[in-house]
């Protein structure tokens, strides 16, 4: 299709001043809200970086994976033998961090700061793509900040987890590839985009949806080339996969594929989807409007295909162990589309297919409504632009989350009449809670720090190793990390784990202490612990109860 300027658009019709001021006022209001959210995010990220314990369960095991790479070892190991540990994630994020780990040793700050930086890069890529399309700077900034304002991005962004690193790589890949046109000079950009996609996939498996989106989009536009490039991409992916699998004696396949086959809970997905729509509905309206426009009146852009693919992929958030983070790619795509939609309205830059424009003009002529043609461009398009800015304001109001203490947020929270609706005394989160939504987001308190060190003090003097559900206590007590509990549970549920050796060690009381947070071990392991160990104390930290168990006196192995 050769797009021509909308016949309704005429340069002689300037946008009425009241509409211009309405747009500017609403964009300014939305920017103020987004900058507030950005301030809250930076405050949270910087405070969290220094916290020396697991804030979200699993962070410590990702740090342990990083330390494996720093020592030149694979973290894909046999879970049946001591230390009963393996990673279930691809390696890239941990490999990137491993040189720092080699110098600094076990610490959480560098992984958290890399994740935080990844979200900033993803937001910058979204803003760049919106600006490239519509040249409306304020809306481009708004779209980038809208990504960071999401409750989901907020609390997962600054964690020692590889997820947002994957989102950053796939976002940059999409932005690099989206303006690709077949012909001379396109190959270097295509190769760069595909390398970024490969990197995203080897950061976390979930990037498969973005890979699919890119090849579907390429197939729509250039079928033969898409097939050839897909074969090359699959070959590169497969060679790396087989090489790692061979280097780890098959543990890579077992731990990154088999161990990720979990029970599916439809209620969890439905709850998260409701929450997602409730929080991001305003952005989604604009994103869906642009997808529908492209589907019926223009060519589908990579952004639209990416949005649809990432929304489809969010169905996986219903897996046991999955959660709200599975929507973050869709949030990025939605912010990008919403920004483009808004910018085109404000710049009156819509293009309609020639035949459609002619048909609409003829229809309006027959109905003696020719005056609407000029009016559409002059008033309706900028009016929709103003409504879009209003939707950004609504979004900004929907995603409020903030601490309720401290010299700035304390008085602000009181002025806004906000009270805690979470299990934390000083944290408000408009998202509420649903199954699968991480109950985090608060800044760790001085008591959390003190209690973390109390747990370490309670277990570090015993010379025996520690069986801890979180790795931080092992790091801080100078002990080796034993077991990755959810990994053991997943493998056990898939009939690919023999916990006999671990149970034997528990029954021999070979561990100086056991620390539970959620008891996410296979049932026979939990039963063995309950037989051989007794609860000594329970210490709260970050809203969770940590149960410290010590060898039961007088216990004899059955």
């Amino acid at each position: 299709m050769t797009a021509i300027p909308n016949v309704a658009v005429s340069a002689v019709h300037a946008t009425p001043r009241p509409l211009v001021w309405a747009q500017r006022g609403l964009v300014a209001a939305a920017l103020v809200l987004m900058l507030f959210h950005f301030g809250v995010y930076v405050h949270y990220a910087l405070n969290l970086a220094a916290f020396p314990f697991d804030y979200d369960q699993g962070e410590g095991f990702e740090l342990n994976d990083t330390l494996h790479y720093a020592r030149g070892e694979w973290p894909y190991r046999d879970n049946d033998v001591y230390p009963f540990y393996a990673s279930n994630y691809p390696p890239l994020y941990h490999i990137v961090l491993s040189p720092i780990a080699r110098i600094v040793g076990p610490a959480y700050w560098y992984g958290r700061l890399l994740s935080f930086l990844s979200t900033l890069i993803a937001a910058a890529a979204i803003a760049f793509a919106v600006y490239r399309d519509g040249r409306v700077r304020s809306v481009a900034i708004l779209a980038g900040l809208a990504f960071l304002a999401s409750n989901y991005v907020y609390h997962i962004g600054p964690l020692f987890r590889q997820h947002v690193n994957m989102v950053m790589l796939e976002t940059v890949a999409v932005v690099v590839l989206a303006t690709l046109t077949p012909g001379k000079g396109s190959r270097p950009r295509l190769i760069l985009g595909l390398i970024l996609l490969l990197a995203a996939g080897y950061t976390k498996q979930l990037a498969v949806a973005t890979v699919a989106a890119v090849f579907i989009w390429l197939f729509l536009r250039s079928m033969k080339r898409a097939v050839l490039w897909a074969i090359a991409f699959a070959a590169a992916t497969g060679i790396i996969f087989l090489a790692i699998n061979a280097a780890t004696d098959g543990q890579w396949l077992l731990n990154t594929v088999t161990a990720n086959v979990n029970q599916y809970i439809l209620g969890q997905f439905v709850g998260l989807l409701r929450q997602f729509v409730g929080l991001h509905g305003a952005i989604l309206i604009m994103a869906i409007a642009l997808v529908v426009y492209e589907l019926y009146l223009d060519r589908l852009s990579l952004y639209s295909v990416w949005f649809v693919a990432s929304m489809a992929n969010s169905v996986l958030s219903g897996k046991w162990g999955a959660g709200d983070s599975y929507f973050i790619t869709a949030i990025g795509a939605a912010c990008l589309l919403a920004g483009i939609f808004t910018a085109r309205c404000m710049a009156r830059a819509w293009r309609l297919p020639p035949d459609f424009s002619v048909r609409v003009a003829a229809l309006l002529g027959r109905l003696r409504l020719n005056m609407l043609i000029g009016g559409f461009a002059q008033r309706l398009t900028p009016l929709i632009g103003a409504l879009c800015a209003a939707l950004f304001v609504l979004y900004g109001l929907a995603v409020v989350k903030m601490p309720l203490d401290g010299p700035i947020f304390g008085p602000l929270g009181r002025a806004l009449n906000l009270t805690s609706n979470t299990k934390f005394l000083h944290f408000y989160d408009s998202a509420g809670w649903t199954m699968g939504y991480s109950t985090i987001g608060q800044v760790p308190s001085a008591e959390d720090y003190a209690n973390g060190w109390r747990i370490v003090a309670a277990v570090k003097d015993d010379p025996r190793p520690l069986l801890s559900e979180e790795a931080a206590f092992s790091f801080n007590a100078g002990k080796p990390v034993i077991t990755n509990p959810t990994q053991l549970l997943n493998l056990y549920n898939n009939n690919t784990l023999d916990p006999a050796a671990l149970i034997a060690m528990i029954e021999e009381q070979a561990f100086g202490a056991v620390i539970f947070r959620a008891r996410f071990y296979p049932p026979p392991v939990l039963e063995a612990v309950d037989r051989a160990y007794a609860v000594e104390q329970v210490i709260p930290m970050n809203g969770y109860e940590y149960t410290i168990m010590k060898p039961r006196e007088g216990y004899t192995k059955p």
């Binding site: 299709m1 046109t181 077949p182 012909g183 197939f219 729509l220 536009r221 250039s222 079928m223 033969k224 080339r225 599916y264 439809l266 589907l295 019926y296 060519r299 589908l300 297919p353």
Partner: protein, 73 residues
Amino acid sequence: MIRREHGDFVMTKRLLGALFTLVGGGGAAGLLLLDGIRGGRADFGPTQAFALLVCSGLVVLGLTLLPLGDRPA
């Protein structure tokens, strides 16, 4: 159904619509067939109902694209 651009084949709106209709229809038929083989409608669960809804939506979407002809998708 298929256009040529820059020396390669390009998907049209009509072909995309046909694909959506085919995939959605095939998916829905497969779901119902599988459920029938497994023991009938009595145990048609919420996940199956959700999948059937998605497949039906795909069919409707596909049918609306068919009249758009050979414009590139």
